[in-house]
Assembly symmetry: C2
Homo-oligomer: 414 residues x 2
């Protein structure tokens, strides 16, 4: 099916708001077996919207439109739809009933301005919005089916799932499938070199790279009829990239690590200096993390390192707070204090200040202590404060993942 999307809003064309709606719709349309052929964005200008609707309707079988359905004067989508389709606006009793029942549920009731949202083109059918006041609708124009949804992401997503995708499903033949493999610890160029010749010439499977710092996503996609080839391609990619692949599809580094911890039965404590709580925040983002995560110490001051983790003040004095020795002492101290199976510590120089010729900005030490001892890893990361912190955090999570994977491998071999 020839499908297009149209986003409406000055905030998009002034660079004030990222168009996450267009991306979400494109992904869900692809999952549903179709593909967005072109996407267009225009501002809050009635003439531009009318033109865009006519243009897209003349080249598409369906158009999904978002934005401009709110109660304020700059919401012009409904008026433009009415003009484009030559269908007058009238008060929709169905829409008014929705607005009234919605008003009854929220404190303060409905603002008079919201009444404007019940004016729909005569020829339109309402698309219910269970989460907000904006009324969606659908309309036919030059043989093309137009779907109008609000720009508020939560409302748009719900209406897309409840109404739009099911309506499109009936029209769709075939479909697309994809596998996303998420990798870390290898550059895009190095990964590409490893994958050279991995897909046979003329394969129906497409391979795309998406850099989402600090991870890289490899996307394999093809038509559903070739799903077997997709599976084979994913196996081939897995063989070449091994443990660089940390997650697949909806999995994330955090969710994978959470599963590994749960099945390992091991507990964890953290001691963070330059990441300042970022690692703990990611770990505790996972439901059920209390099964293995005991505590974290954000030891920014040297006194905190000494008092909370028993890092000797003389050691900090002698080697510096950012040193292999202090990283080790932090991990061992955190493990002892918390009584955990594992403890991970991080100390580093995130910048912009604090770098020295010996230890420039980006110098980071990660230490992992367990019952066998403690291993320290040193890094020299590029980037600014925010990038150094992000990649340090991701590297720490990956270190834990690889540690648990190795234990798992060892126990499977027993």
């Amino acid at each position: 099916m020839r499908l297009s999307t149209l986003s409406i809003g000055d905030e998009l064309l002034c660079g004030e708001q990222l168009d996450s709606n267009a991306c979400h719709i494109a992904g869900r349309v692809y999952d549903a077996g179709s593909r967005v052929l072109r996407h267009l964005t225009v501002g809050d200008d009635e003439e531009s919207i009318v033109l865009a609707l006519r243009e897209l309707a003349s080249t598409s079988e369906a158009v999904i439109v978002t934005g401009g359905l709110g109660p304020t004067p700059d919401d012009l989508t409904t008026a433009a739809a009415s003009r484009a389709a030559g269908s007058e606006l009238e008060l929709s009793s169905e829409a008014l009933a929705h607005l009234s029942s919605f008003a009854a549920r929220i404190s303060g009731g409905l603002h008079p301005a919201n009444r404007r949202q019940a004016l729909l083109p005569k020829a339109a059918s309402l698309i219910p919005n269970p989460l907000g006041t904006a009324c969606g609708f659908t309309l036919e124009l030059s043989g093309c089916r137009l779907f109008f949804l609000p720009g508020v992401p939560a409302e748009m997503k719900r209406m897309l799932e409840d109404t739009v995708l099911p309506a499109l499903a009936g029209r769709e033949k075939g479909g697309g499938v994809r596998v996303t493999l998420k990798i870390f610890g290898i550059s895009e160029a190095a990964a590409a070199a490893r994958l050279e010749g991995c897909l046979p010439f003329g394969s129906p499977v497409e391979l795309a790279y998406c850099v989402k710092f600090p991870e890289i996503q490899l996307i394999l996609r093809c038509q559903a009829e070739h799903a077997g080839r997709l599976t084979a391609a994913a196996v081939a990619v897995r063989e070449r990239l091994g443990a660089y692949i940390f997650a697949q599809n909806d999995e994330t580094m955090d969710s994978v690590l959470c599963s590994l911890f749960k099945s390992s039965g091991l507990s964890l404590a953290l001691a963070e200096s330059c990441t300042g709580g970022m690692i703990a925040a990611r770990i505790t983002g996972q439901p059920g993390c209390s099964a293995y995560f005991l505590e974290g110490a954000v030891t920014y001051s040297n006194q905190a390192k000494t008092r909370l983790l028993q890092v000797p003040a003389e050691l900090i004095e002698a080697k510096g707070a950012v040193s292999l020795e202090v990283a080790r002492a932090m991990a061992i101290g955190a493990r002892r204090a918390a009584g955990s199976d594992l403890a991970l510590s991080v100390t580093g120089i995130a910048g912009p200040d604090g770098g020295t010729p010996d230890k420039p900005v980006g110098t980071v030490f990660l230490a992992l202590a367990d019952s066998f001892g403690c291993r320290v890893h040193s890094y020299s990361f590029p980037g600014d404060r925010s990038e150094v912190r992000s990649i340090t955090c991701f590297t720490a999570l990956d270190l834990l993942r690889r540690h648990l994977l190795a234990l798992h491998g060892a126990s499977s071999r027993d």
Copy 2:
């Protein structure tokens, strides 16, 4: 000037990559005094790119194109530009020199595939790319100036600043200005009600709302010739929204709080349960935070609350870990342990499990201790685990901000 943007890439139309380039360009174009009139996205398909270029060239005076300039076979933008403009591809010696000098700087040298990137339309002029191999170029088509930039954000941004914006500046008359006011703690509807009639009828200043959960951004924009009206409008909005406005333009909650702490001379300790380090991570994201931030404790287990913060085990037993009393004890304990001026604690139920009829998911207590005592605030936040954690974190930062503002106000009145 009639200016459009075109993004090229299957990953955008399959929903795998957010189009942050289009948003960035739109923002910079606006800052430079123009405005993107329409934005179009098409996939990696030569025919579609040719059509899109012709279409945009016929309605625009300038088009900024991103993506499809890489070395791989799915990079088709240059070939499409050559067809659209009827200008044959030829090996550009200038581009080849760039590629060779770039190769000399990176380990491993240039891949043979990169040679393809030196093929440019005869009529094109090179746009230098100091950060990567992709060669940008500019070309005239039906009287419209086309700029071709790579899709890699860092490279695109640099080339936009160095070459494209200066080239457009010569053509631009007038310009746009804007002020962004960031608010928190008030709903969009309530803010809109407060601002009713704030801008006089017929004002050249536009007012737009951007919801960026959990904050709301109010954007005031107008043509540069009315800059005085913009300033007046911002003053009027500030009067009506007062302390709900936490930041302006490039400022963030984090940067504002950092400045307030630095000028207050007060030190801070944190004790986090349900936010698990998120607050500490935001505080430590600011350069120079070590001037006031001493330490944070992520006390996920009850034992950690008792050992690190001296919260009596009997109190946790009697009142529950998520309670007003435990929040208070955590803040007082954290302040005493760290020896800080201020200590903030948070305990809550982020979900999905752990809720009870008495204390449903979203129940959160924040406590702030200082030398005068400790004040506890209780909340009932909507949303899932991630939303509850985000809004809790933001509320905690805002609580600190308002506390320091009040102190500042008190000391200014002295």
